[in-house]
Symmetry: C2
Subunit: 358 residues, 2 copies
C-alpha cells in the first residue's frame, strides 16, 4: 500500500513510500483510509521542527486527523463490523501513569506517550491502517465527508469542556465568549460554543468578506476584524468576555487578551506559538488583575475518546443547523497524488487542506 | 466607645476616635470586639494606598480580621445568644449580581461591593460593632485566642478549595504542594494543605531557625530557604509541585514559579503585589509550557461564609494536632492603646500583629 512518510527532525523529507498492507491480530481492526486533513503540527513535522519515528524505524508515517472505513475485524472484536465508518484517536495511553489508567491519555504525566502520526507511532496517511477498538470512534455516514475534522473538533471540545468544569468552582453564568483566531481550531471552537447560548465573537485579522469570517458568522458568532478593532477597544465596545479561547498561535495576542478577561472569567490557551521572542510586561499588573478578578488562565492540549464522542455529537448538530459549514473549513481538497500541495505556503484565505485516499 | 479610624487615601491619618456605642435593630447582633489582627491590606490603607470611607462619612474605621463576643441580640434573631463567640465575614453582598444572589459575594461581579474595614463599610477596630447574623460565624471557645486568624485562613481556604474544584476537570492525584512565602497567608495555606496528605514545601527567604520556618515545620511542611535554593533548583531536587500557592506579594516570584508547575498542575496567585515594574519574559515559552502541560494559573481574592466555616473546622483540627501553632503566627500581641506599634516597620521575623481590646 502507499503511504506518506518522512524522517522526523529533517526538513522536507516527506515522500511516497510503498509498504505491505497491515495484518490484524484477533484483537485489532483494519481500516481503509478515506481522508486525512492537515494541521499546524503536520506542517511543523514537515519542516523538521517536530515529530519522532517509531522505535527501531527511520521514518514516520504522518497524519493524525483521519476518517476511514472498517474493512476487517479480528475474531475477538465486538461492536465493530466491516463497513463501519470510524475516526481514530491520536494520543495513546502510556499504560502506566494514573491518568492514563483512568482513560485520560490526553493528560498523560509521562513524557513518553505515543501520538499517532506525531510521536513514536505511525499516523494515518496510508491507504490502510490498523488499530485497537478502544482507539476508534464510530461516526454516522452523513459525517464521513467531514470526518477528519472530528479530531481537531475533539481538541476544541476538550477546551470548552474544561472551561465549564473549571468554572464549577462557583455559580458561573457566562454571557459572552471570544474566540481568538478563525483558523480551524478557532472556528470549530465557535461551532461548539454556539450550543451554549453565549454571545460569541470570533476575532481574526482577515476581512469581513473572507471565508473565515463567513464561516464564523454561519456558526452564529459575530466576526470582528482585529485590524479595525484592537482587543482593548473590543472590550470597550462589547464588554469583557466571560470566556476566551486563544487559537491564533501568537503568544503576544494571548498576553494582550489576558487584560480583557471579565471578572471571574477564564481563558484557555489552545495554540502552540512558534519562536521565543522576548516581550516586556508588567508582572504586577497581570498578577493583581488575575487575583482581584478571580480569573483563570489555563492551557489545553490533545483530547481523549470522550472528547471525540462529544465532537461527533456536535458535528451532527452542526450539519443539521448549518449544513455545509464544516465542509467549508476544508478549503483545499486534494487527491492523494497531489499531497505536496498541502504543504506549500498558503495565503490568508486558506483554512485546512484535506487529502482524499479514494 | 473607642475606635481606630482614618481618612482613606491619605497617609498616616489613623487616630483614636470616640463614637457612640452602636444600637441594634431587631434583626441585628451587637458584638464586643475581643481582638483584631493586621494584614497587608491594613498597612496599605494606613499609608494611604487603598480604602474608602462609607458614603456620607469622612473616616473609615479599619480592621477586617476580628473575633468578638455577642453582647445583645435583636428580638428576631435565632441561632445566636449573648456569650457566643463570633468571627465576622468581610465582603458583603451587592444584593444585585447573580453571584452575590448565590451567596458568593467573594466573586461579586460589580465594582461596588462593600468590604468591612476596607471599602465603604466600617471595620472592626472599635470596642463594639454590630452585624446581621448571616455575616457572623460562630467559633468554639477554644479558638477565641486565635479567632482573628479565621479571616485570613478563610482566604487561604478559598484558594485550596478552588484548586481542588478546578482540578476536578480530570482524575487528579496530587502528591506535592509548594507554598511560596511563609507570611500568615502562606503559613495558613500550609496548615490547610496538611489535611490533604500532600508532601508540602514552604518556601521563603528567612533562615531555617526563624519563627516562620519553625511554624512551617510544625504544620508538617518541609521548609526551604530560597536564598540557598532557587526555584529551578528546588524543582530539580524535589520535582515539580502539583500545586503551588503564591503568597509572597512579589509578582516576579509568581512568574518564576510558573516555570516549575508539574504537568497537569495548578498555581493559585493569592497575593497582591505592589508596584508596576517591567520585566522581560518569553511569552512563547510560557504559553507553550501551559498548553503542552495542561496547566492552570488562577487568581483568588476574598472569601465567603462557607470558607469561614471550613476555616473554623481546620483551626480546630490544627489546635488538636499542633497546639500553639496558630498562636505563634501572631508574633506581635499589642494592647489597644499601643495600636500605633502595629503599623511600624517590622523586620523579617515579624508575621502578624494582633490588637486586644480587653
Amino acid at each position: 500500500m502507499k503511504a506518506l512518510a518522512l524522517k522526523p527532525k529533517q526538513a522536507e523529507t516527506l515522500d511516497l513510500i510503498d509498504l505491505e498492507k497491515p495484518r490484524i491480530s484477533s484483537d485489532e481492526i483494519l481500516i481503509k483510509t478515506l481522508s486525512t486533513s492537515i494541521d499546524r503540527t503536520d506542517l511543523d513535522i514537515y519542516v523538521g521542527l517536530y515529530g519522532k519515528e517509531p522505535e527501531g524505524e527511520d521514518r514516520l508515517i504522518i497524519g493524525h486527523e483521519a476518517v476511514g472505513k472498517v474493512i476487517e475485524v479480528g475474531k475477538n472484536i465486538i461492536g465493530f463490523k466491516a463497513g463501519d465508518f470510524v475516526v481514530p484517536t491520536v494520543r495513546r495511553t502510556c499504560g502506566d501513569c494514573d491518568v492514563c489508567v483512568a482513560d485520560e491519555p490526553d493528560m498523560c504525566r509521562r513524557d513518553d506517550y505515543k501520538e499517532r502520526g506525531i510521536v513514536k507511532a505511525h499516523g494515518f496517511m496510508s491507504e490502510y491502517f490498523k488499530d485497537a477498538p478502544e482507539n476508534l470512534v464510530k461516526i454516522p455516514k452523513e459525517l464521513v465527508s467531514v470526518g477528519s475534522l472530528i479530531e481537531p473538533m475533539s481538541v476544541a471540545q476538550k477546551a470548552v469542556s474544561s472551561i465549564y468544569k473549571i468554572q464549577k468552582r462557583f455559580s458561573w453564568r457566562p454571557e459572552s465568549a471570544l474566540v481568538l483566531g478563525a483558523g480551524s481550531l478557532g472556528l470549530l471552537s465557535a461551532v461548539i460554543l454556539a450550543r451554549y447560548g453565549l454571545q460569541t465573537f470570533a476575532y481574526d485579522i482577515v476581512s469581513e468578506n473572507s471565508v473565515k469570517a463567513q464561516i464564523a458568522k454561519m456558526s452564529g458568532a459575530t466576526y470582528i476584524d482585529g485590524r479595525d478593532l484592537k482587543l482593548d477597544e473590543f472590550a470597550n465596545n462589547y464588554g469583557k468576555p466571560d470566556l476566551i479561547i486563544e487559537a491564533t498561535g501568537n503568544s503576544s495576542v494571548a498576553f494582550d487578551a489576558m487584560d480583557i478577561i471579565a471578572t471571574n472569567g477564564i481563558m484557555c490557551l489552545l495554540s502552540i506559538s512558534a519562536g521565543s521572542h522576548e516581550e516586556t510586561i508588567c508582572p504586577d499588573c497581570l498578577n493583581n488583575d488575575l487575583v482581584l478578578g478571580n480569573k483563570v488562565v489555563f492551557g489545553s492540549v490533545s483530547s481523549n475518546r470522550s472528547h471525540f464522542e462529544k465532537a461527533v455529537e456536535v458535528a451532527r448538530e452542526s450539519e443539521k443547523k448549518s449544513p455545509g459549514l464544516l465542509s467549508r473549513i476544508m478549503t483545499d481538497k486534494l487527491k492523494f497524488e497531489d499531497f505536496r500541495r498541502a504543504f506549500e505556503a498558503k495565503d490568508n484565505s486558506h483554512i485546512k487542506s484535506v487529502i482524499y485516499f479514494e
